[in-house]
């Protein structure tokens, strides 16, 4: 009997914590559907749905442009960072070479050190190269930060892949390049798709780099645009909420599409390391 009671308590606790997660998100949705021009209100079911807020955010608020900038950056960052991570992870996970330990630690620095600390010189260095206010100013540092984690992630994958596969390929006389692409990669799809999903989320959500490195409004990405709008005095609350939801849509879509593997991959991967 107490076991049943305990079980009920667990479900109540889980439901409560889930409700708290959903609350601000539901709230922003109800605000986004309010009559344009109204102020922030608490939770209330809107009596009429003003979907025109979304249209206004998309067209007038410039979220169409902001999101296409974000998309352009992500479209370059995700495949390139994934490819570079596979290659470097392959080296660390299957090969022995002088200095491998030291080099691996070097990659770990990027994983644990706050990159907020590097953004200042990054700005001045990129400016002297004439790269600020170009997409490269975002793409290159984002790739660099991503490969730090990606190397770590793919190394763990290659270390755990069966040695017999590698040995069989070696006996067949396959080059390391062929072994990677023909033998190992087909088994790496879950690891790679989790990694690519993460890279997409990071790139799409990146705020500080976008805020600092891109000042030109025409090139601005979605989170930076949203952040700057919030700071302004005259705020169109409903439109801003609609914009915030618009830039969340691609993330939610990717999340719903990949979540089962993604969450499990993340939880297991982060512990396995």
């Amino acid at each position: 009997m107490t076991a049943r009671l305990e079980r009920a308590v667990i479900y109540v606790v889980l439901a409560l914590f889930s409700a708290v997660v959903l609350l601000p998100l539901v709230n922003i949705l109800t605000i986004a559907l309010q009559k344009p021009g109204s102020t922030v209100t608490g939770l209330s079911f809107p009596t009429e749905f003003h979907f025109e807020n979304f249209v206004r955010a998309w067209e007038v608020g410039g979220f169409a442009d902001l999101m296409s900038s974000s998309a352009l950056v992500a479209v370059v960052v995700v495949p390139v960072a994934t490819l570079l991570s596979i290659l470097s992870g392959y080296a660390f996970g299957t090969m022995r070479f002088r200095g491998s330990t030291a080099l691996f630690y070097l990659f770990l620095i990027g994983l644990v050190m706050p990159f907020e600390a590097t953004v200042v010189p990054l700005y001045y260095d990129l400016r002297s190269l004439g790269l600020t206010d170009t997409y490269w100013a975002l793409i290159l540092p984002e790739i660099a930060l991503s490969v730090s984690f990606g190397t770590f992630w793919m190394r763990a994958f290659f270390l755990s892949s069966p040695r017999s596969l590698l040995e069989a390929a070696r006996i067949d006389g396959a080059s390391s390049w062929t072994t990677l692409w023909r033998v190992l990669l087909p088994t790496a799809r879950p690891a790679i798709s989790t990694l690519a999903t993460l890279f997409f989320l990071w790139s799409w959500n990146e705020f500080l780099l976008a805020l600092v490195l891109i000042q030109d409004p025409a090139l601005r990405t979605a989170p930076a645009g949203l952040g700057l709008f919030v700071g302004e005095r005259t705020v169109d609350v409903a439109g801003l909420s609609a914009g915030a939801l618009l830039i969340t849509l691609p993330v939610i879509a990717v999340y719903l599409f990949t979540q089962r593997h993604f969450i499990r991959g993340m939880l297991e991967g982060s512990v396995k390391g």
């Binding site: 308590v9 600390a117 959500n205 512990v271």
Partner: protein, 319 residues
């Protein structure tokens, strides 16, 4: 900076995994089985080149600039450690570092504690239908912090949902514009950090608790252990690795926190909720104190390093 040879110091997660894994010997054998290869450098080169150019060099450059008085335009002057003295002396900057300790409490300690409570409850039972809770609890991890910040700005507003809920339970007296309150802005933003992280901690510990050998619980019960002793004797030791990982992830996040504070309060009112990352941004790009901003950055890196070191120790010592 972190080029120590002690693997544990650099990344707690890896070592923990290796040391605790029953197959640790196996992984050593594997490592020995790695093929000696010079071609490895070619595979590494592209990643290393981008990484060195856009992470490592700026990192070193940060340290270098921290010794200069530089406004970002004219030629800087070498001032030695003066910027660091200023970091200690400046009230706003001192406040920022104190606040990051508060964030460690809200974003790191509190979510881990909540996660452990849930794991303690759950570990005694088989629970079905977790998939839905799992997707919801993980949600804050995928949404942009800027969006989270906007959502919580509305939550904390004068007529926002938080005050609405307080009025609902008769606490009209405590309602206020939370983010504009000198005393409560910091805890208010800190709790958003808790909101972001508790789901992740819960899920990490739940998945870890499921791997604990059930017979350990039976043995503990045979010995007459109650739920509390059972938690400290079986669940907590069994989750040590997960706890270390969770502390590492949340501590890094708590210390580097920029987006959330920038969007919700921008450090205000006054300096009531400012954090080092916001100060770095303000100093470098609003007040042209580039050298000082870099000194703050270096101190922040040092604190992060020490925090991770402590977490690793904690994970290692408890047995």
């Amino acid at each position: 900076m972190v080029t120590t040879t002690d693997e544990a110091r650099v990344h707690p997660a890896t070592t923990r995994a290796k040391r605790r894994d029953p197959a640790a010997g196996d992984s050593r054998r594997r490592r020995g089985g790695l093929e000696p290869s010079r071609v490895a450098y070619l595979y590494l080169l592209p990643a290393l080149a981008v990484y060195a150019a856009f992470v490592l060099l700026p990192l070193l450059h940060t340290v270098w600039l921290s010794f200069f008085d530089w406004n970002g335009i004219t030629v800087g002057t070498w001032t030695g450690l003066e910027n660091y003295v200023e970091v200690l002396r400046d009230e706003d900057l001192r406040a920022a570092f104190v606040h990051s300790l508060a964030f460690l409490g809200f974003t790191c300690a509190l979510p881990v504690a909540l996660g452990l409570v849930l794991a303690a409850l759950l570990s005694r039972h088989e629970i079905r239908g977790l998939a839905f809770f799992r997707s919801v609890l993980f949600l804050p991890q995928v949404i942009a912090m800027v969006v989270v910040g906007v959502a919580w700005r509305w939550m904390y507003a004068d007529d926002g949902a938080v005050n609405q809920l307080l009025r609902l339970v008769g606490l009209d007296g405590v309602t206020r514009a939370w983010l504009g309150d000198f005393d409560l802005a910091l805890p208010a933003v800190g709790l958003v950090g808790t909101w972001v992280m508790y789901g992740l901690c819960m899920l990490l510990f739940l998945s870890g608790a499921q791997k604990i050998d059930r017979s350990l619980y039976e043995a503990a019960r045979m010995d007459g252990a109650g739920p509390v002793r059972e938690f400290f004797a079986v669940t907590l030791p069994g989750l040590r690795q997960e706890v270390t990982v969770a502390l590492t992830i949340t501590a890094i996040y708590a210390l580097r926190n920029f987006d959330l504070v920038y969007v919700t309060t921008n450090g205000g009112p006054g300096n009531a909720s400012t954090v080092p990352a916001v100060e770095i941004y303000r100093l470098a790009f609003r007040e042209s104190e580039v050298g000082l901003a870099c000194a703050v950055a270096v101190v922040l890196m040092a604190i992060t390093f020490v925090a991770l070191l402590l977490i690793t120790r904690l994970g290692r010592d408890r047995t």
